[in-house]
Every structure is written in structure tokens, then in C-alpha cells.
């Protein structure tokens, strides 16, 4: 099966709400980053060791939520396409905070900066964290532009979720190192 349609060869692409927009538009940029983040989470999933099943399951849930979030980023406020969309419930943020607390409780308290890296799983989690931060920055701009619109509240929840997600990926990185007996590399002034 071919996966290309060629519909975007002229530098435009379709939003979920049907409008044709330039590929460099903020919406496309935002959900492009979200797509990248989702792919990196797939890489984290495949590089985590076997004794991290609960984290792996959570990553799959996160990937599904990011799809849900992506549809909001690809929809304009006045579009009837909103009827198809379901907002991320605020409870998903709380759930993620709980997961962060659970993992953090199993880790040595952090008193110094650590270098991003370690095991393949930890390294991918650090990459995911940074991609997530970039995505958050783009969505922040989108939220700013859509303030007061019909999708304002939906975007706000996505923004908070992304913020917690980068924190979650940070603790996942540390947990991945711990799970394979590799200490985090503490930063030292060169």
C-alpha cells in the first residue's frame, strides 16, 4: 500500500477542519512536533528494558492521547470539525502527576544536575523530553493566538499535559538508567 498521496507537493496541506494551509503555518508546525514526539515515545518504548512494563503501558496510553491532542491542533476554532473531537480530560494531567510521583519515590533524590544520557532507553527518554519541551513552546504560541476562542480550553489542557509529560519523560529517563543498574552521570564543571 502506498503511504504517500502527493496532495502536499505544492507546499500546502489540509487541516483536520478542511482548510488548506501552508506547511510552515503554526498549526502544522505544532502538530508536526507532536508527531515527532509521538515517534520518539515509540523509540523510548522499544528501548526500555523488560522490567519496566508499567512504564511501557503508560507510554502507549500517552501515544494515544497525543493523537487525540494532534486533532485539536489541526482544527480551527470556528470549524464544525470540533464536533468530532473529544477534549483531553483534566484528570489525565493528574494521572501523569501521580505517575511522576510514583517513579520519583523509587529514585535517589536529585541534588545536582545530571547529563542527559545513559542506557539507550534513558537516552531516548531525554530526547523525548526535549522534543516535548519544543512542542510545548509551539503550542504555547498557538494557545496565545487562540485565547478566547472555542478551542481555548481544549488547548490549555493539552499545554499543561505537555508540560507534565516532559517531566514524566525526565523521570522515565532516570528510571531507565536505574532499571539497568546505571547511575546517572552528574554534571561537573569542565
Amino acid at each position: 500500500m502506498k503511504v504517500y498521496t502527493g496532495g502536499g507537493d505544492k507546499g500546502k496541506t489540509s487541516l483536520f477542519s478542511g482548510e488548506r494551509v501552508a506547511k510552515y503555518s503554526l498549526r502544522i508546525d505544532s502538530y508536526g512536533d507532536l508527531d515527532e514526539l509521538n515517534s520518539v515515545i515509540g523509540a523510548i518504548h522499544s528501548h526500555l528494558p523488560e522490567n519496566t512494563e508499567s512504564i511501557k503501558n503508560e507510554l502507549l496510553h500517552i501515544q494515544a492521547r497525543l493523537f487525540q491532542a494532534g486533532a485539536w491542533l489541526a482544527t480551527t476554532p470556528e470549524s464544525s470539525a470540533i464536533d468530532f473531537l473529544e477534549e483531553l480530560e483534566e484528570s489525565v494531567v493528574k494521572d501523569l502527576e501521580n505517575k511522576i510521583d510514583e517513579l520519583t519515590a523509587e529514585l535517589t533524590p536529585l541534588k545536582e544536575f545530571i547529563l542527559p544520557g545513559g542506557t539507550p532507553g534513558a537516552s531516548w527518554a531525554h530526547i523525548g523530553r526535549t522534543v516535548c519541551r519544543r512542542c510545548e513552546r509551539k503550542v504555547t504560541q498557538l494557545v496565545e493566538e487562540e485565547k478566547g476562542s472555542k478551542i481555548d480550553s481544549a488547548l490549555q489542557v493539552i499545554l499543561v499535559y505537555l508540560n507534565r509529560l516532559s517531566d514524566y519523560l525526565f523521570v522515565v529517563a532516570r528510571f531507565a538508567n536505574k532499571a539497568e543498574g546505571r547511575p546517572d552521570q552528574v554534571w561537573r564543571q569542565p
Binding site: M1, K2, T5, G6, G7, D9, K10, K12, S14, F16, S17, G18, E19, R20, F67, Q68, A71, S79, S80, A81, F84, L85, E86
Partner: protein, 221 residues
């Protein structure tokens, strides 16, 4: 996305051949099955899954599908041969090629069995300004009577067979050519359904001629 898909068991009630390789199958509509015109379902047969768009209107008592028997196609071949009364697992509905409120004029563009969603939409009362139906020849045009009695400008685009002389409702060429050369200037929303190659070509033409138009599309291979 809203969660709307469920599993159902439906029974084949009728099969009607429309041409040498295309047929219509009718199933009972489960009481708790609701869909919007333009949506599709998934049929599960012999370990395979295929999407089929519902042809019948939203308030009909049965579910009708248009199927083209494909060379080497597993499900289309099985659906062509299973006895009336056979029960099938069906999942759905799904898909987003559905009516969107608009102030603009709708242009529906279909090739081949891509006509399916528009049959349901028109039969359910959706207003559209144009329906461009691209096929190779007259024999491949289905559901003419549904479209001919409406206010819709129904244009048959024949890519192989020639149109009758002086026909104002027939165009010699592909749907792409009609949009590029004939479709009047206007404010449009396009709904596209057909093979991805057509959707790609039509999208390019729309981007050039109608850059402000919305495009909703669903393609297949």
C-alpha cells in the same frame, strides 16, 4: 477523537449486481447502530478486514454498500459469493467525510465506487451545488436516478467512452479537467472520494484555482 465504534453482527439480506464487476449488498441495520452519511464500517471476513462506505441514507432501515470485485481481492470476492442469510461481524461507524455546515457551495467529486458516501449524503438531504462523477464509461455510472432528480448539477465525467453529443451533463475527460477548465468561479467546499491518485491531482487543481476552498477527502487504493 470521539469514541464511536462498536461491534455488530449483521445479516446479508440481498445482493444486486450493477455491472460485470460491481455489486450492491444489503444488510439489516442493527437497532443500536447510528451513523452519519459518508461514514464507513469495517467488515471482518476470514481473518481480513475491509472498509466499506454506507450508500443508504441515515434513516433507512437497512445498510447498503457498493462493492467492486477486485482482481485478487479477498473480501470483495467473498462478499460476492456468500449466501443470503450469512452473518458477518461489522465494526463502526467511522470516518470524517461527513456533511460540515457551510455558507459556501459544496462540490462533491467521486471516481468509481467513491460515489458511495455521496449517495448517502444526497439521499439524506444534504445540499450540494455540483456532483462530479468520474468513471470510464456509461456502464460504470451507478445511482443516476438518485442524482438526476435533484437541484444538483450532476456532471458525468467519462474518461474513455465519449459523451452523447450536446449533452450538458456529460464531460469528456477526467474530473480534474472539469474542475480546471469548466467549474465556474465560486466559493466552494470540496468533498473528494476515490483513489488517492485522483485526490492528489484534484487537490493540486483546487489549490491553484480555488486557494481559499476547504477540502475534505477520503481515499483508497
Amino acid at each position: 477523537m470521539k469514541k464511536g465504534r462498536s461491534n455488530f453482527v449483521v445479516t446479508l439480506e440481498k445482493r444486486r449486481w450493477l455491472s460485470q464487476d460491481t455489486y450492491e449488498v444489503t444488510f439489516n441495520k442493527p437497532e443500536d447502530f447510528f451513523f452519519r452519511s459518508g461514514q464507513h464500517v469495517i467488515f471482518h471476513m476470514g481473518g481480513e478486514e475491509r472498509d466499506y462506505t454506507i450508500v443508504s441514507p441515515e434513516n433507512d432501515s437497512c445498510l447498503v454498500f457498493l462493492v467492486k470485485e477486485m482482481k485478487g481481492g479477498v473480501v470483495s470476492k467473498q462478499l460476492a459469493g456468500i449466501p443470503i442469510g450469512t452473518e458477518l461481524k461489522m465494526t463502526g461507524p467511522g470516518g470524517y467525510l461527513v456533511e460540515r455546515p457551510t455558507q459556501k457551495q459544496r462540490v462533491l467529486v467521486a471516481t468509481g465506487t467513491g460515489i458511495a458516501p455521496f449517495c448517502s449524503m444526497i439521499a439524506s438531504g444534504m445540499n450540494a451545488a455540483f456532483l462530479l462523477y468520474g468513471v470510464r464509461n456509461q456502464e460504470s455510472l451507478h445511482y443516476n436516478s438518485l442524482f438526476e432528480g435533484t437541484a444538483l448539477h450532476y456532471i458525468k465525467c467519462l474518461s474513455v467512452e465519449a459523451c452523447m453529443k450536446n449533452s450538458s451533463t456529460c464531460y469528456d475527460g477526467h474530473v480534474t479537467g472539469f474542475i480546471k477548465d469548466i467549474l465556474p468561479v465560486g466559493q466552494y467546499e470540496f468533498y473528494l472520494c476515490g483513489k488517492w491518485d485522483m485526490i492528489k491531482d484534484v487537490t493540486h487543481v483546487i489549490d491553484t484555482r480555488f486557494p481559499d476552498a476547504n477540502i475534505y477527502s477520503e481515499g483508497f487504493y
